[in-house]
C-alpha cells in the first residue's frame, strides 16, 4: 500500500500522470530515482534538465582575448602566412578530435543514464571511504580515450551521486596513471625508464588527492555543500 501511495504523489508532482500504467507499479519495487522515461513526443523542455549547461562564462572570454592577442602577435612576427599555417594545422587537429568529443559526450550521457544513482552514491559517494577512492582510481586508470572521454564521464559521475573526492581520484588517476597518454606520448618522448618511474611515483597520488579533497570539502561545506 505504501509504495502505491508514493507513486501517486510522485506522479502528481512530475506531471507524468499520463504515464500512469500498470507497468509502473512493478517498477516501483525499485527505488524511484529519476523521472519516469518521457514519451517520445514529450518536448525536451518538459523534463527537468539533468545537468545545467553553462552559458559563456568569464573563462571563455578570457581565453578568447588571450587567443586574439596571441594571434595578433603571431601576425606581427610572421605575417599572414604564419597565422594561416597555425590555423590550418589546428583546424586539422580540431577535425580529428571532433568525432571523439561526440563519443565522449555520448559515453557520459549513457553512463549517467544506466548507472543507478543509489549504487553510485553508495560506492563513490561521500561515505564510500577508501574503497570509493580506490574504485575511482581504478576507473580512471582503465578509462579509454583522452580528455574528450575523461571529463564528460567525470561530470556524469558527479551527476549520478559520486562525491568530489572519488571524482578527483578518478580524474587524477586518469591523468597520472592512465595508460592512454603515457603510451601514446610520454613513452616515445621521455623514454621508458623515466615514464615507468614517473608512473610508479604517481601511484599513491590519486587516492591521496581524493582523500585531501574529501577532507577539505567537508570543512568547506559542513552542511553537505551546494548541490
Amino acid at each position: 500500500m505504501a509504495p502505491l501511495f508514493r507513486l501517486r504523489t510522485l506522479a502528481a508532482g512530475t506531471k507524468q500522470d499520463q504515464d500512469f500504467s500498470p507497468a509502473r507499479f512493478i517498477a516501483l519495487s525499485e527505488p524511484l530515482l529519476k523521472d519516469p522515461a518521457p514519451a517520445d513526443e514529450l518536448a525536451e523542455a518538459e523534463r527537468a534538465p539533468r545537468r545545467k549547461r553553462k552559458p559563456v562564462g568569464w573563462s571563455m572570454i578570457f581565453i578568447g582575448v588571450l587567443v586574439a592577442i596571441s594571434a595578433t602577435l603571431v601576425y606581427r612576427r610572421d605575417g599572414i602566412g604564419g597565422v594561416l599555417d597555425i590555423l590550418t594545422h589546428d583546424l586539422a587537429l580540431f577535425g580529428g578530435i571532433l568525432p571523439r568529443v561526440l563519443a565522449g559526450c555520448l559515453l557520459g550521457a549513457f553512463i549517467a543514464e544506466i548507472l543507478p544513482h543509489e549504487k553510485v552514491s553508495r560506492s563513490l559517494g561521500p561515505t564510500s571511504g577508501l574503497k570509493g577512492l580506490l574504485i575511482g582510481t581504478a576507473f580512471g586508470a582503465i578509462l579509454p580515450g583522452g580528455p574528450f572521454t575523461a571529463y564528460p564521464v567525470a561530470a556524469a559521475l558527479l551527476t549520478v551521486g559520486a562525491d568530489f573526492g572519488a571524482t578527483i581520484a578518478m580524474v587524477v588517476s586518469w591523468t597520472l596513471i592512465g595508460y592512454g597518454r603515457a603510451v601514446a606520448w610520454e613513452l616515445p618522448i621521455l623514454g621508458t625508464d623515466f615514464t615507468m618511474w614517473r608512473a610508479i611515483i604517481s601511484l599513491p597520488i590519486p587516492v591521496l588527492a581524493g582523500a585531501l579533497g574529501r577532507f577539505v570539502y567537508v570543512r568547506m561545506y559542513p552542511k553537505g555543500g551546494p548541490s
Binding site: Y151, V171, W185, I189
Partner: protein
C-alpha cells in the same frame, strides 16, 4: 601514431556501443533520451573546444618552449622544484609540448625530481587545459577545487623521486 589513434577510436566507440546497448535493453526511450542528451552536450561544447584547440596554437606560438625550459634549468633543489611546478602550470599546448619540454630539460641538465615535478604539475593543473578542456565539460566549482587540492602533489612526487633516487 595512426595505429594508436585507431586503437583509441576503436575502444572509444566500442565503449559507446556497449553502453548504448545496455541502455537500449532498458528501453528504446532510454537510449534515445540519453543519446539526445549526449548530442546536446556535444553541440554545446563544440564552440568552446573549437576556440581552445584552434586558439592554443597561437598561444603556444607566442610562448616559445625555450622560455619554459629556461625556467626548469639545471638541478636546483627545492627552488627548482617550485619553478618546475609553476612552469608546468604555465605550459600551453598539448601533450607533445609538455613532454618535449620535459625531455629537453632532462637533456640540458635538469634534475629528474624537478622534471618529474614539472610533468606531474603539467598533467594535474596546466592552466590552459583547465580552462579549455575541464571547464567546458565539468562544473567550474569542481575544476577549481580539484586543481587546488592537486597543488601539493608535484612536490610530494619530487620528494619521493629524491628519496628513492630514481629515475
Amino acid at each position: 601514431m595512426t595505429m594508436s589513434a585507431l586503437i583509441i577510436d576503436f575502444t572509444l566507440w566500442g565503449s559507446v556501443l556497449v553502453l548504448g546497448f545496455i541502455a537500449f535493453q532498458r528501453g528504446r526511450v532510454v537510449v534515445i533520451s540519453a543519446a539526445r542528451e549526449g548530442a546536446m552536450d556535444f553541440i554545446h561544447i563544440v564552440p568552446r573546444i573549437a576556440l581552445g584547440v584552434i586558439g592554443s596554437g597561437y598561444i603556444a606560438a607566442v610562448i616559445p618552449p625555450e622560455v619554459i625550459t629556461g625556467w626548469l634549468g639545471p638541478d636546483s633543489g627545492w627552488l627548482g622544484v617550485l619553478t618546475a611546478v609553476i612552469a608546468g602550470a604555465a605550459t600551453p599546448g598539448g601533450p607533445v609540448v609538455g613532454f618535449s619540454i620535459g625531455a629537453v630539460a632532462l637533456k640540458v641538465g635538469g634534475g629528474p625530481p624537478q622534471v618529474i615535478a614539472y610533468v606531474i604539475a603539467w598533467a594535474l593543473f596546466a592552466f590552459q587545459r583547465l580552462i579549455l578542456w575541464e571547464i567546458p565539460f565539468m562544473p567550474a566549482r569542481f575544476v577549481w577545487f580539484r586543481a587546488a587540492v592537486s597543488l601539493p602533489f608535484p612536490f610530494l612526487a619530487a620528494a619521493l623521486a629524491m628519496a628513492i633516487g630514481k629515475p
